[in-house]
Symmetry: C2
C-alpha cells in the first residue's frame, strides 16, 4: 500500500537474493528481474532515497530494516493468498504463485491479518516457504539442496522453486512437493541427470533443478511406514 507494485517486487527480489546478509549486485538483480541494468539502477536510487535499501556503487544493494519489513509484509501477503487459493479455492498448485503475485499488491494489513486468522495461521505456503512475521525465507538453517544428498540418503522435500509455472507443473507431475520423502539414487557425472526415488518410483531430473529443491534430513526414516 505504501509502495508501488514495482517497488514491492524489487524489495522481494533483493531479499530473495540475499540482500539481508550481504550486498546484491545490481546486474544480478537486473537479470533476475528481467529488467535492464540501467532501469534497475534508476529504481535502486529511488529505493535508496526512500530509505528502503542501502546502495554502495560497485558493491551492490542491501535491504535496510525498513526495506526488510516491507519485503516481509509482501511475502506474508503473497503466501497467505497462495494458501487461500490452494486450500480454499482448490486452484492448482502450479497456478497459485502467479495469481498471488498480483493479489499481494492489492491487500491491506487488515485484510492480510484477517486472512491469516481465517486460514488458521498457516506456517508455510504451498511450496514450503514460511509464513511468519519475521521470516524472509532467503536464508535457511537446516535446509540443503537435494543435489547434496549422498547416494542412498533419504530426506523430505522442504521447499521448491516457485517462480516458474511450467517448472511447477513439471514438479507436480513428478510428485515433487513439500513433505514428500525422496531417496537419492545417483548423480550422473558430466552434468548428467539426478536420479531419485519417491513413492517407490525412480525419476531423473536435471542438476539445476536438483540444486534448487531444498530438503531436510528428517529424524524419522520410517515416516512412510507409519502414515498414509
Amino acid at each position: 500500500m505504501l509502495h508501488s507494485e514495482s517497488a514491492e517486487d524489487y524489495l522481494k527480489t533483493i531479499c530473495k537474493m540475499g540482500g539481508t546478509q550481504g550486498a546484491v549486485s545490481t546486474s544480478a538483480l537486473a537479470s533476475r528481474l528481467g529488467i535492464s541494468p540501467v532501469s534497475v539502477h534508476e529504481m535502486i536510487r529511488k529505493l535508496a532515497e526512500q530509505g528502503l535499501v542501502e546502495y554502495t556503487p560497485y558493491r551492490g544493494v542491501s535491504l535496510t530494516p525498513a526495506g526488510l519489513r516491507a519485503a516481509q509484509n509482501v511475502f506474508r501477503r503473497h503466501r497467505l493468498w497462495e494458501r487461500f487459493l490452494h486450500d480454499s479455492l482448490g486452484l492448482p498448485w502450479a497456478r497459485v504463485h502467479e495469481e498471488a503475485e498480483r493479489l499481494e499488491h492489492a491487500t491491506s494489513q487488515e485484510v492480510s491479518d484477517r486472512l491469516a486468522q481465517f486460514l488458521n495461521y498457516p506456517q508455510e505456503c504451498p511450496h514450503g516457504y514460511p509464513i511468519g512475521q519475521e521470516t524472509c525465507a532467503c536464508e535457511d538453517e537446516a535446509a540443503r539442496p537435494l543435489l547434496e544428498l549422498a547416494a542412498g540418503e533419504s530426506a523430505e522435500i522442504e521447499r521448491v522453486p516457485e517462480d516458474n509455472a511450467q517448472m511447477l507443473e513439471y514438479l507436480d507431475h513428478l510428485g515433487l512437493r513439500p513433505g514428500v520423502r525422496v531417496t537419492m539414487i545417483e548423480i550422473a557425472p558430466f552434468d548428467g541427470p539426478v536420479t531419485i526415488e519417491l513413492a517407490g518410483e525412480r525419476k531423473a531430473i536435471g542438476r539445476p533443478l536438483a540444486e534448487r529443491i531444498l530438503v531436510h534430513i528428517a529424524a524419522s526414516h520410517h515416516t512412510e511406514h507409519q502414515g498414509g
Copy 2:
C-alpha cells in the same frame, strides 16, 4: 486482466451512469471520476479505439457489447470479493468496498469462478448489488428511491450507495442495510430532512441520501412478525 486498472474503472463508471441505455456525457463522467475532462476525453478515445465504447462528440459515450462484458466482469469480481471480505473475513461492512476496488483488478477469470463456487454462488454483494453473469445493476426494474415512498408506506431496503466509506459508516450506524424494513414518516418541505422509522426507531436523513437508497415494496407487510 486484458485491460488496465484505469480502463476497467472507466468502464464500470460508464456502466453505472447508464452507458448501456443512452449516452453518458463526458463531463459528467469526468466529474464522477474526479478526473479532468481533457484526460477523460483522451481515455475515451483510447477505449473507443479498442472497441469498448462508442463515442459521438457532443452526444456522449456508451458501452459496446464488448465494453459491457468487460464492465460486468469487473462488477462480478468486485462483488464476489466484497462477499468474501465480509462473510469469510468479517471485514466491516463499510470497509469491504474500498478493498474490493483494488482486488477486482488482480483477479483472473479462474479465480473469480472458483471464488463464486466457494461462496456458494451468492446473488448480491453486501450492499445489495446483484452478482450474476448478465447483471450490471445500473438499471433496475422494481427498485425505487426511498425518497419516493409516501408517508406511512413501508418497504425493504434493496441497495445502498457504496462508493463512500464515510457514508457507509453512517448508514451502518443508522442500521440502514439491505433487507431492513423501513417506513416513511415524513419528507419535510424546503429540502428538509426525511424521517423514517426502522426497528421501532425514528431517524432523519438528508434528501440526497434518501434519493440514493433504493427500496422495493415487498409483498409481505408482516415479514417482521414472522422471522428474526
